[in-house]
Symmetry: C2
Subunit: 168 residues, 2 copies
Amino acid sequence: MEIIKREIKSIKKRTFPKKICFEPIGIIKTPFKSLKGIPIQFYQSEAEGIIQIYPKHSPGLKDLEGFSHIYCVYFFDMVKLPVPLQSKPFLDDKKKGIFATRTPFRPNPIGISILEIIHIKKNLIKVKNVDILDKTPILDIKPYVSRFDYIKAYKMGWLDGKVVKKSS
Amino acid sequence: MEIIKREIKSIKKRTFPKKICFEPIGIIKTPFKSLKGIPIQFYQSEAEGIIQIYPKHSPGLKDLEGFSHIYCVYFFDMVKLPVPLQSKPFLDDKKKGIFATRTPFRPNPIGISILEIIHIKKNLIKVKNVDILDKTPILDIKPYVSRFDYIKAYKMGWLDGKVVKKSS
């Protein structure tokens, strides 16, 4: 990308941040009004939702409708910290390290779902495959690009044999 | 997963956060000491790096070595905010909405790279396919699971015809 110097901090003055703060860029409206019944994974969900990007960020959505899918990055705001670092995941009865699971209960409760774009109207992105609680704060939207993002993972750890193959 | 009630906030008292703050869970050491020469995408990089997870989070790494790939979620700490909402990406000469690009210059400068695990020793994850500046703060690690994460994206917008197919 075109890097304009004034957009970059001085590497000489670089210090390691102890705290990293973000402001939500929007909110997602979904059919899931409580924590019960939310699909475990986006790839198993047919539910639709609407990402409302704050109008001040709308110009950033230009050209996004050309893509079929997005990474939706969000904040699991219902998680109370600190979380245990090992816990039983949904698909197993033995405790796993939380970085080896997709649990929302992580030190930094960041969620990532790959959602299909139905359409974009102004600042509203209508999406499919939603597995997110209603009114969840959105941190970022990135285009999903199969050629970058499809990796032939050859090991899937404790999940091997536990996940159902996609029907499509 | 097993949801323990005390880990969840009360949904009745839920308020929308204006600011969301995280603490890094570690740091990545890479060969890229300056912004020049960093690969544009992880899938084009053969470079290796070491994610140093802070020892207090080490128990969360249990079972991760069973997976071949991870999502590494990190903070582009060199980006100066605010950023323009449209900019010319690396692969085109016309301005695009930044949510339709992978530029680090985004309102919330969150990066996601899919990295191959070489090995894990204690709190150190040796990884491949690195496209990240040395000493970048790490926010989260999640297992990459092809069956969840491989989506047949059928539209790739302005990137169509611009990305080189993976050689593997």
